[in-house]
C-alpha cells in the first residue's frame, strides 16, 4: 500500500444562506499519495475551491462541514481544535491563491509577510526574538532565491505592488513553501498570469515538489495544465466528483460527457463552446437538488433513467465515473 | 427620433433605478420612517389646521404651565406652555414649517446648482472643470457652520438669508458627487455610442448621463437634508436663525434653557421633534443607500 498523505471521505460542506441550504460540496472522496500531483478540474462553482478550503479549515459561517472526514497523515482534521489547526496550516499544509495581488497584504513588505509565517511555525529558530527574526530573515531570502526572484536582497523590503505579476506569484509561492509543507494546495496558480509566465510558475512548482518531496493539489479549470503536470485527475461538477483516474487515461479516453465537453473545448472553441457555457447562478442552484444526475439538463445522453441518484462506478483500472451511460465521444454525439 | 436614438434607449439602465426603489420599498423600517417624514411634511403644510392654538398667543396666566399629565397641566395645552404662556405643541407644529422649509429649499437650490455644475465639470472638462473644481476646493476649505455664521453675521438673520447662507456651501457636496459619477459614466459604452451617433453634448448630458446619477444624488440629498435641518436648528439655537416671535425648534430649545432646572418640558419637546425628524430622514437615507448599493443585491 502506498503512503497516503490526504484522505477525504464523503465530505459534505454546506452554506446556510437566506435562499436555503446550499450544499457546495456533496459527498466528495479522494486520496492523495506522498509526492503525487493531483489535478482538480471544474468550473467556478463546482465546489473544488470549497473542498480544499474545508481541508484547510477555512470554512466560515454561514458555511460548515456537515459530514465526512478529512485525514491528513492519519490525523482527523474535521473537528480539530482551532489551535491545532492553526499550527498545521502554513506549516504542514500550505495554500496559494489565485491572484497574488489580492492575496498579499498591500500594507506590509514582502519580507514581513514571509518572516511572519516562519516566526509562527519554525521551531528550529532559536534565541531571542531578535535573533529569531534574523534567522527567519535569512531563511526567507533563501526561499525567495529558490522561487527564482532575481537579486532578492534588493527586492526584499519592497511592497507587493512594486512587483510584476509573475514575481508576485513567486513571492506567494515562497510564502506558502517557507515552512517546507508536506502538502501544497495551489488554487488556480496560473489563471491571473500571462500565458508566457504560466509555464514558468508551473515548472517552478513542479521543480520544488520534486526537491522537497511534497504532494501537490493543483486546482484549475484548464485540462491542458493538468495533462502536463498531474499524475491523477479529478473532475468536479456541481459539488460532486464526476470522473477520476490517471491523467493520461482520462484525457485519452474520457468517460463522463462533462469531461468530454471540457476536453473538446480546448482545441475547437468555436464548435463546442455552447456546451460549456458557464452555469448561471450555480450556487443557488445547489439548493434542494432533486435526486437526479446533475449534468442532466446539459447532457446529450440524458434519458429518463438518469432521474435517480447516480453513484460512482468503476470504469477501468483505478478509474471511476458518475454516469449511467459512460463512454468515449462519438456515440450519438455531434 | 431617429432609429439610432431609439435603439440606444434600450440598454440604458433606467430600470435599475426602479428596481432599486422597489428594493427600498421592501424594507419595512425604511417605509415606516418614510411615513414619519411625510407626516412631518403634512404637519408643516397643514399647520394652521392642526395646531390647537395660535403659536404666538401669549398669556401670562398660562406661563410655564406643565404638560397635561402633570399636576397643574391642562389637556387643552398638551405639552404645556413656555415662558410667555404660549402653547408648546402649537409652536412645535409651526416650528416644523421652518425646519422643513429651510431643509427642503436649501437642498433643492443646492442640488440643482450642484448637479448642473457637476455635470458641466465632469462632462465638458477643460477650463470649466478647472474653474468649478477650484471653487469647490476653496469652499470646502471652510467649516460649514462657521461659513454660514459668517454670512449671517454679514447679511443679518432672516429666512431668505439662512437659506442662502447654507446653500452657498451646500451645492459643493452634490457637485462633487455628480462630477465623479459623470467622469465615471462618460467612458461607458452607451455614452460613447451616443457620441458616435452625433448626439449633441447637452442631449447626452441630460438624456444619457443624468438618469444614471439619479441614485447617488438622491442618497446624498437625503443625508444632507437631515444635516441641513440640524444646522438650521443650531443657527436658531445660537440666535442667528429666524427671528422671534416666529417659532423655530432650535430657538425654542434655547429659550427653554433658562428654565431647564424646573420646567424641563420647554426644551425637551422641541429637541425631541428635531431628533425624530432628523432620525427619520437618516433612516430613509440609509435605506436608499442600502437599496442602491450593489453589494446588497443578491
Amino acid at each position: 500500500m502506498r503512503d497516503t498523505v490526504l484522505q477525504i471521505s464523503d465530505l459534505k460542506t454546506c452554506f446556510d444562506t437566506r435562499d436555503g441550504m446550499v450544499t457546495a460540496v456533496d459527498g466528495v472522496s479522494l486520496s492523495l499519495n506522498r509526492g503525487e500531483c493531483l489535478g482538480v478540474v471544474g468550473e467556478s462553482g463546482s465546489g473544488k475551491s470549497v473542498t480544499f478550503a474545508s481541508v484547510m479549515g477555512l470554512i466560515k459561517k454561514p458555511g460548515f462541514i456537515a459530514n465526512g472526514s478529512i485525514t491528513f497523515e492519519k490525523r482527523e482534521l474535521v473537528g480539530l481544535d482551532p489551535t491545532a489547526y492553526r499550527k498545521l496550516r502554513g506549516k504542514e499544509i500550505a495554500m496559494t491563491m489565485q491572484d497574488a495581488l489580492t492575496a498579499l497584504n498591500p500594507a506590509y513588505t514582502v519580507s514581513n509577510q514571509i518572516i511572519e509565517v516562519l516566526l509562527a511555525h519554525d521551531d528550529t529558530l532559536t534565541g531571542s526574538r531578535k535573533a529569531k527574526r534574523k534567522q527567519a530573515r535569512e531563511q526567507a531570502l533563501e526561499m525567495l532565491k529558490l522561487v527564482g526572484i532575481p537579486s532578492p536582497e534588493s527586492r526584499f523590503d519592497d511592497y507587493p505592488h512594486q512587483f510584476s505579476g509573475g514575481m508576485r506569484q513567486r513571492v506567494m509561492i515562497a510564502i506558502a513553501l517557507a515552512c517546507k509543507p508536506r502538502l501544497l494546495i495551489a488554487d488556480e496558480p496560473t489563471t491571473a498570469l500571462d500565458v508566457t509566465i504560466q509555464a514558468q510558475v508551473l515548472e517552478l512548482i513542479a521543480g520544488i515538489r520534486e526537491k522537497l518531496g511534497m504532494s501537490v493539489i493543483l486546482i484549475t479549470h484548464d485540462l491542458g495544465v493538468v495533462a502536463e503536470y498531474c499524475d491523477n485527475v479529478v473532475v468536479m461538477y456541481a459539488g460532486q466528483i464526476v470522473e477520476r483516474g490517471p491523467t493520461h487515461a482520462v484525457i485519452a479516453n474520457p468517460q463522463h460527457p462533462y469531461t468530454q465537453g471540457l476536453l473538446n473545448s480546448i482545441p475547437r472553441l468555436s464548435d463546442l463552446a455552447r456546451r460549456i457555457e458557464p452555469i448561471k447562478g450555480t450556487v443557488p442552484e445547489l439548493v434542494n437538488l432533486p435526486a437526479q444526475c446533475r449534468f442532466m439538463d446539459r447532457c446529450t445522453r440524458a434519458r429518463p433513467a438518469c432521474k435517480t441518484h447516480i453513484a460512482m462506478q468503476d470504469c477501468g483500472p483505478e478509474r471511476e465515473v458518475r454516469c449511467l451511460f459512460p463512454g468515449t465521444p462519438g456515440g450519438g454525439d455531434v | 427620433m431617429t432609429m439610432a436614438q431609439t435603439e440606444l434607449k434600450a440598454p440604458r439602465p433606467e430600470t435599475l433605478f426602479q428596481r432599486n426603489m422597489k428594493l427600498f420599498a421592501s424594507s419595512k423600517l425604511s417605509m415606516f420612517f418614510l411615513c414619519v417624514t411625510i407626516g412631518f411634511v403634512v404637519m408643516a403644510v397643514a399647520a394652521p389646521l392642526i395646531a390647537p392654538h395660535d403659536p404666538n398667543e401669549a398669556d401670562l396666566f398660562r406661563r410655564l404651565m406643565p404638560p397635561a399629565w402633570m399636576e397643574g397641566g391642562d389637556w387643552a395645552y398638551v405639552l404645556g406652555c413656555d415662558g410667555l404662556g404660549r402653547d408648546i405643541l402649537s409652536r412645535i407644529i409651526y416650528g416644523s414649517r421652518i425646519s422643513i422649509f429651510i431643509g427642503a429649499s436649501v437642498i433643492i437650490v443646492a442640488t440643482t446648482i450642484g448637479v448642473l455644475a457637476g455635470l458641466a465639470a465632469g462632462f465638458l472638462r477643460g477650463w470649466v472643470d478647472v474653474v468649478i473644481s477650484r471653487l469647490v476646493d476653496i469652499l470646502l476649505g471652510f467649516p460649514y457652520l462657521i461659513f454660514a455664521i459668517a454670512l449671517i453675521a454679514m447679511t443679518g438673520p432672516g429666512l431668505q438669508n439662512i437659506v442662502l447662507a447654507l446653500a452657498y456651501k451646500e451645492w459643493v457636496i452634490p457637485c462633487r458627487v455628480v462630477r465623479g459619477e459623470t467622469l465615471a459614466t462618460t467612458g461607458v459604452e452607451y455614452v460613447e455610442a451616443a457620441q458616435a451617433m452625433g448626439a449633441s453634448k447637452s442631449n447626452i448630458m441630460l438624456r444619457e448621463i443624468l438618469p444614471n446619477i439619479l441614485s447617488p444624488v438622491l442618497v446624498v440629498s437625503t443625508v444632507r437634508m437631515a444635516n441641513v435641518i440640524i444646522l438650521e436648528a443650531s443657527l436658531s439655537f445660537l440666535g442667528l436663525g429666524v427671528q422671534p416671535p416666529t417659532a423655530s425648534w432650535g430657538a425654542m430649545v434655547a429659550d427653554g434653557r433658562s428654565f431647564m432646572l424646573q420646567e424641563w418640558w420647554l426644551s425637551t419637546f422641541p429637541g425631541l421633534a428635531i431628533l425624530l425628524l432628523v432620525l427619520s430622514i437618516n433612516v430613509v437615507s440609509q435605506g436608499l443607500r442600502d437599496a442602491f448599493d450593489p453589494k446588497f443585491h443578491d
Binding site: R86, A176 | L145, I149, M154, I230, I274
Partner: protein, 335 residues
C-alpha cells in the same frame, strides 16, 4: 513619500488658501454698516479724526489694495484691534484658543477611543446584538442635535445626579500657572491632582457632546471598512499561513481597515471646529467658538473676520494632513 512630492503638495495649498482669504475679505467688504462708525460707537470725534482713522485702517484704498493690505497683515498675525475687548484681535483669539484646542482634542480622542474598538467588534461579530446596538446608537449619534443633547446631559449628570459641574472650564484655572495652556496637562505637570480632577470633570460632558457625532461617523466607517477588509483574499491567505487570530485581526486587518477611518477622522476634526460654537455656548466653555458667537451680537467684525480665516486655514491644513496620512498608511498610493 519623497520630500519633493510633499513640497509639491504643500504648494498646491497656496491657491486654496488664497481663495479662502479672498472670500473672507469679500464677505467683510459687503458687511453692512461703516466699520469706522461701528468701531467708534457712541464716541464723538471730529471729522478729521475720523478721516485719520479711516486712512489708518486703509479704508480709503481701492478694494484690491485693501485686500493685499489685509493679506499682508494677516500673514504677520495683525488683524487689527478688537475694540470690544480693547485688545489686538490676535491676542483675544490666542487667549481663547487653548480652551478650544483642549476640548477639540478631548473630543477627537473620545471619538477615536469609542469608534474604533466598537467598529471593529461590530464588524467581527456582524449581525450580533452588539453590532445592531452599535448601528442604532450611531444613527442616533448623527441625528441628535448637539445643543439639545448637551442640555439633557447637563440636566441629568449635573443637575439631577450632581456628579459633574454644570458649566465652565474649571474652578482652579487661575491657580495653575500655564505651561501648555491645556489645563489637563498643566495641572498634571504642576502636580495639582485636585485641579486635574476638576478640569477633567468639567471636560467630560462637553467632550461627549462634541465627540458623539464624530464617533458615530467613525464607527460606521470603521465597521464598513473592516467588513470589507475581512472579506479580502489577503485575510484568507493570512489564515492559510496559520497565523493567530489576534495577529490576523490586529496586524493584517486593522492596519488596512484604519486607512479610511484615519482619513475621515482628520477631515471630521474640521467639523469639530464648527461644533465647537454650539457646544461651547451650551456649556459656557470659554473658547474661540463662543467668542465668535458673542462677537456677532456686538458686531465685532474684525474678530469674526480673523476667526473665520483662522478656522478656514486650520481646516485646509487638516485636510492636507489627512491626505498625507492617507499616503503614509497606504503604500500603494503615490502622491
Amino acid at each position: 513619500m519623497s520630500l519633493g512630492k510633499f513640497i509639491e503638495r504643500l504648494l498646491q495649498l497656496i491657491p486654496v488658501l488664497l481663495g479662502v482669504s479672498v472670500i473672507v475679505f469679500v464677505m467683510m467688504l459687503f458687511t453692512p454698516g461703516d466699520p469706522v462708525d461701528i468701531m467708534l460707537g457712541d464716541q464723538h470725534v471730529t471729522e478729521e479724526m475720523e478721516q485719520a482713522l479711516r486712512r489708518d485702517m486703509g479704508l480709503d484704498l481701492p478694494p484690491h489694495e485693501r485686500f493685499f493690505k489685509f493679506l499682508g497683515n494677516a500673514m504677520t498675525g495683525d488683524f487689527g484691534l478688537s475694540y470690544y475687548h480693547r485688545q489686538p484681535v490676535a491676542e483675544v483669539i490666542a487667549s481663547r484658543l487653548p480652551a478650544t484646542i483642549e476640548l477639540s482634542l478631548a473630543a477627537l480622542i473620545f471619538a477615536l477611543l469609542v469608534s474604533i474598538p466598537l467598529g471593529v467588534l461590530a464588524a467581527v461579530r456582524k449581525n450580533s446584538f452588539l453590532d445592531r446596538l452599535a448601528t442604532v446608537t450611531s444613527l442616533f449619534g448623527v441625528s441628535l442635535p448637539g445643543f439639545w443633547f448637551g442640555i439633557l446631559l447637563i440636566l441629568f449628570f449635573a443637575v439631577n445626579m450632581r456628579w459633574l459641574p454644570v458649566s465652565g472650564r474649571a474652578g482652579f484655572e487661575s491657580e495653575v500657572a500655564p505651561i501648555t495652556h491645556l489645563l489637563l496637562i498643566d495641572s498634571l505637570l504642576r502636580g495639582r491632582i485636585d485641579a486635574f480632577w476638576d478640569a477633567l470633570k468639567h471636560l467630560i460632558l462637553p467632550t461627549i457632546t462634541l465627540g458623539l457625532p464624530m464617533a458615530s461617523i467613525l464607527m460606521r466607517v470603521t465597521r464598513a471598512s473592516m467588513l470589507d477588509v475581512l472579506n479580502r483574499d489577503y485575510i484568507t491567505f493570512a489564515e492559510a499561513k496559520g497565523l493567530s487570530r489576534t495577529r490576523i485581526l490586529v496586524k493584517h486587518a486593522l492596519k488596512n481597515a484604519l486607512i479610511p477611518t484615519v482619513t475621515v477622522a482628520a477631515i471630521e476634526t474640521g467639523s469639530l471646529l464648527g461644533g465647537n460654537m454650539v457646544v461651547e455656548t451650551v456649556f459656557g466653555w470659554p473658547g474661540l467658538g463662543r467668542l465668535v458667537v458673542e462677537s456677532i451680537f456686538v458686531r465685532n467684525y474684525p474678530l469674526i473676520q480673523a476667526a473665520v480665516l483662522f478656522y478656514a486655514v486650520t481646516y485646509v491644513m487638516l485636510n492636507f494632513f489627512a491626505d498625507i496620512l492617507y499616503t503614509m498608511l497606504n503604500p500603494r498610493v503615490k502622491l
